[in-house]
């Protein structure tokens, strides 16, 4: 069977590098090109040193981009929408990892991103990129969006409760998220300067984080609020979603809901142990893997449930989900190229 030709627009950043790490070893695809405007001509391994001696691919300018079977877009937010019609001419299938085509509603986009979308006529062509939510739609899709890492860890924490109808939606749902520094991308800023960032625990978006829009859209919740804290990790995001369940809900009801949501999912594991060191989800052991670990605890007296989730933000929260989505869209085994289970200890 011939391999599909895939190319990456924006191959020098962290999500592009993570895609290269996955796609270079994927059994069904061949990486044809990876672009970078500022680093054209340089070798991929010069920017992704883990790939030294695994590929001699050189970054090229977008002007040299050739048609391919699947095109991944790893551009800064706002860039894909400017040239999406050009990208449509280059590939019959596109996965856009940016935020540009995650939201179906242009008004919701404007509300959360603060400016009008420049290609709103194409929003409904894209399927939201989390297979656990949109697997069936992906099977016939041609265009798939990326996912927000903080949205993903929130959506996976809350999905079992929403599907089972256990939430008291009259009460607010507060999702407290801790994130690693790679969420900020490869570009430096004052906050990423080592003396400032190191050992810091900084609430950088207590309210108003843009990924909230993806939770509203995908779970149909309205009274949901994300609160972001940057912690001293490179990879990883973990969510503690605080909500209230309907009266009479027991811990066994929660077990049923979480099993119903995730027992058949290849990349979601329920982690709720009463013994040992690893009783709850922890992003530390997920680095480099596409797994999402999910757990919960219930305060039976008050009805407060704390649903916990952990991911590697560059994997399940970005490039891993993008490859999983490509697998579904292209008819590959859903786990192809994504079997790495992570490291322990790390």
């Amino acid at each position: 069977m011939s391999r599909l030709k895939v190319s990456i627009v924006g191959g020098s950043g962290y999500t592009g590098g993570e895609l290269l790490r996955l796609l270079l070893f994927h059994p069904g695809v061949e990486v044809a090109q990876a672009t970078s405007e500022s680093k054209a001509g340089e070798y991929v391994y010069q920017h992704h040193p883990n790939l030294r001696k695994r590929t001699q691919l050189q970054l090229v300018s977008q002007q040299a981009l050739q048609p391919c079977d699947v095109l991944f877009l790893c551009l800064p937010h706002g860039e894909s929408q400017k040239k999406i019609e050009h990208y449509f001419t280059l590939a019959p299938r596109i996965v856009d990892l940016s935020a540009d085509f995650r939201l179906r509603d242009a008004a919701l986009y404007q509300r959360w991103y603060g400016h009008a979308h420049t290609a709103p006529q194409h929003l409904d062509k894209f399927v939201y990129g989390l297979p656990e939510l949109q697997r069936e739609a992906m099977k016939t899709a041609r265009y798939i969006s990326g996912v927000g890492c903080n949205a993903t860890v929130s959506n996976l924490a809350l999905l079992p409760l929403v599907r089972a109808g256990l939430l008291d939606t009259a009460q607010p749902i507060i999702v407290d998220i801790k994130t690693g520094s790679s969420e900020g991308g490869a570009a430096v800023n004052a906050g990423s300067h080592h003396p400032e960032k190191s050992h810091s625990v900084r609430a950088y978006a207590p309210t108003g984080h843009r990924h909230t829009a993806e939770v509203i859209q995908e779970l149909g919740l309205t009274n949901v609020h994300l609160s972001m804290t940057a912690v001293d990790l490179v990879r990883g995001a973990t969510a503690a979603a605080h909500a209230f369940v309907k009266a009479g809900t027991t811990e066994k009801d929660l077990w049923k809901a979480y099993r119903a949501a995730y027992n058949a999912e290849p990349f979601v594991r329920i982690v709720k142990d009463r013994t040992g060191l690893h009783r709850v989800p922890d992003p530390k052991i997920l680095a480099g893997s596409n797994y999402a670990d999910v757990g919960f605890d219930l305060d039976a007296e008050s009805g407060r449930v704390v649903s916990l989730a952990a991911i590697d933000n560059l994997m399940k929260g970005a490039s891993g989900s993008a490859v999983q989505a490509m697998n579904v869209m292209c008819g590959f085994e859903e786990t192809a190229g994504l079997e790495f289970p992570g490291l322990h200890p790390i």
Binding site: K252, W255, K256, K272, R274, T275, R279
Partner: protein
Amino acid sequence: MPAVCPECEAALSLKDVIQGEIVVCPDCGVDLEVTEVQPELQLALAPQEAEDWGE
């Protein structure tokens, strides 16, 4: 012998267990004591230490 975890309701299949034996639930990891074997298998939560760093 089939049994159900009293903590999380996972379905367990246990072989050759005896009364008083401690087994582990494969889903929630809780320690379970076999309290009865006949006429049917009965499991109960075994005492465990909670994790608490709030000194």
